[in-house]
Symmetry: C2
Subunit: 380 residues, 2 copies
């Protein structure tokens, strides 16, 4: 199988990720932070180590500000709902995933206003619109680092600077970039950073992280056992406990630590330049084919390794089906949980076929993918 669906999840996982999760299941079977016996303490230490690794990776000063969640979606819900209250205003973009748009729409019902900035046809953000959208009650700007539809890289640092200058909180959805693109929460003025553990960070599914800036107090999504301040019937203030009720996903978190370990071993910048070379080649080749329509920036420096395209006149699902059944190529057709992004690029009806590459994709595989596309084209 040619796996071109890294935008959904990374596959295969590095060996050490699977081994880490396995080790956790086999020898760290205790409940971390609860009991005080040796295995529970070992499990707690492993999770603390993971927190440190994540913190260092994103230049987060205090590991306690790293919250482990079950997914980037949960991280975004916690971040967005945690800071917004009735009467507040939030700004976002039309290129967002439903994991940003749906929580914002859910809060609209509760009296939180929103502005969704319409992006350009290649998915890029008209930066001047950010400033223009700010109102007196604007509390938060939330945006993706890179579109999961077109790969368009967003000017996160620039928007972060505006937010910081205007005293507005800034939340970044790094679902498509964490692990591959440089992210520095200090340099990029990020107050809340949401990322999945299982995409670019190469960890197992069922993991996510949320960085919360120091002294930023969020409402909780869930309350429960934290293993701390058990005598209190209200959720403790202490971090990370406040936001991590319930038994953690120890195998997932240990696997995630190993995922980042793998990235550090290979070098994040090396992985990025490898992925850039793949996207560059792929874009150049599909651009030559007149039966293919490509969306997005079409520039490997302006987009993450995600390409949205269509065979002219063919439904995206049909094309994906042919790629899968005849060429054993895994891509993702349809709407990609990003309806306004499709509206922005003009593909809400047809959908697109998304090719997305990752750390383990080879140039040979991409070439095979191009040959498959050409071969389908000649049959049309």
């Amino acid at each position: 199988m040619l796996y071109f669906d890294y935008g959904a999840t990374s596959y295969p996982k590095p060996k050490r990720v699977i081994e880490g999760a396995l080790r956790a299941m086999e020898s760290l079977g205790a409940n971390p932070g609860r009991s005080g016996h040796q295995m529970a303490l070992r499990a707690s230490r492993e999770i603390f180590d993971a927190r440190e690794v994540v913190a260092k990776f994103f230049n987060i000063k205090d590991p306690k500000q790293v919250i482990f969640t079950s997914s980037c979606t949960e991280s975004l819900n916690l971040g967005i709902k945690g800071v917004l209250n009735k009467g507040d205003h939030v700004i976002t973009t039309s290129m967002e995933h439903n994991s940003v748009l749906r929580p914002i729409k859910a809060m609209e019902v509760e009296g939180v206003e929103n502005t969704i900035i319409p992006c350009n046809k290649d998915g890029s953000l008209p930066l001047e619109k950010v400033d223009q959208s700010i109102k007196v009650n604007t509390k938060l700007i939330v945006m993706t680092h890179s579109s999961n539809l077109t790969g368009t890289l967003m000017p996160v640092e620039e928007v972060g600077k505006i937010a910081r200058e205007r005293g507005i909180l800034f939340c970044v959805d790094a679902a498509q970039t964490a692990g591959v693109y440089p992210i520095d929460v200090e340099k990029m003025y990020i107050d809340l950073l949401a990322a999945p553990g299982h995409k670019g960070l190469l960890g197992p599914q069922g993991t996510g992280i949320l960085y919360i800036k120091e002294n930023l107090h969020l409402k909780t999504l869930k309350e429960g056992g934290t293993g701390s301040k058990s005598q209190d019937l209200i959720q403790p203030e202490i971090l990370p406990d406040r936001y991590e009720s319930g038994t953690p996903n120890t195998p997932g978190i240990v696997g995630l630590k190993e995922g980042i370990g793998y990235i550090l071993e290979k070098g994040r910048a090396n992985i990025l330049s490898h992925e850039e070379s793949l996207i560059k080649y792929f874009l150049e080749e599909v651009e030559k084919l007149d039966f293919i329509e490509v969306y997005g920036p079409k520039d490997c420096k302006k987009q993450s390794p995600v390409v949205a395209l269509n065979f002219r006149g063919m439904d995206s699902s049909e094309m994906a089906y042919i790629l899968d059944s005849m060429f054993n190529i895994a891509v993702r057709p349809g709407l990609h949980c990003a309806p306004l992004a499709h509206q922005t690029i003009g593909t809400l009806e047809q959908g697109v076929v998304r090719f997305s590459f990752g750390y383990n994709t080879t140039l040979e595989e991409v070439k095979e993918g191009i040959e498959a596309i050409k071969s389908i084209g000649t049959e049309l």
Copy 2:
């Protein structure tokens, strides 16, 4: 190590659980329910299979009513917050875990009233108090199936019947019983059943389930990508998607399915009678020791395999430390995230040492545990 901390999590996991999670990481690396390619479809099918297995296990008619969550805590938060609104009244007991009490206390701030029924000193519920606590605005009764402190088994079916007759929703926290004790959502009048995947169900950490009765519509805790109705900016109504935003924990869910598979293979009733024999022996032996104070029903038919005890005059943490460091015995001291339960049995200051046994505990291990307790006793 003698692992007597099954109340926190089951360890070790059956081999097939670990193999299932491993297989999911190695060969089901896609994002289920999102893309349509073969591996994604295989992952979707495995998750659907798991849903069917869970449904059958608890006599749930429609597998779509089984929601996979990241923990029992999340299940309880979703169940409790999903049905309660300002002006409603909820009834619970003093034996609850913080994963029930803290969400209820959090909702108090939002105008949801509550009544916490004080239980008897052995943790048992004065059943007449349930009826007496019902008010015109009572919307929900939520209670544990078995105390995580004393093991006290609660009269779930009786309370469920009262709730059903009075038109009140009934939510059961099966954290200490699911997988071992018989649970039939129909027979027990359960509208919402919350359970962890990693305790008696023997699955990996990071998994939980919530059964939601048909036609019971909950508010969501999280919204986001569901892979369904992607064009809509509001969370879809379709189940289980409505409550399962974000990439699922595929390895965890496949492992959980294997955990239940193991239980079915061994026979749930056989596991229960094995655990009952352990608790019977342990209770008989500790009752003979005059330096030990035992809490709870002290009857293997009235309590799950969880025993709360103290060495007279010794702090629970100190005793647990000695058991761990000198005898390599893993127990859990302290407050067990259940402060009102400790108040009920009179141990809020001292805490207790909790011994909890599981499917893999042997009588020989329990005997060794007893010897260790005796040996500490002679040193006092």
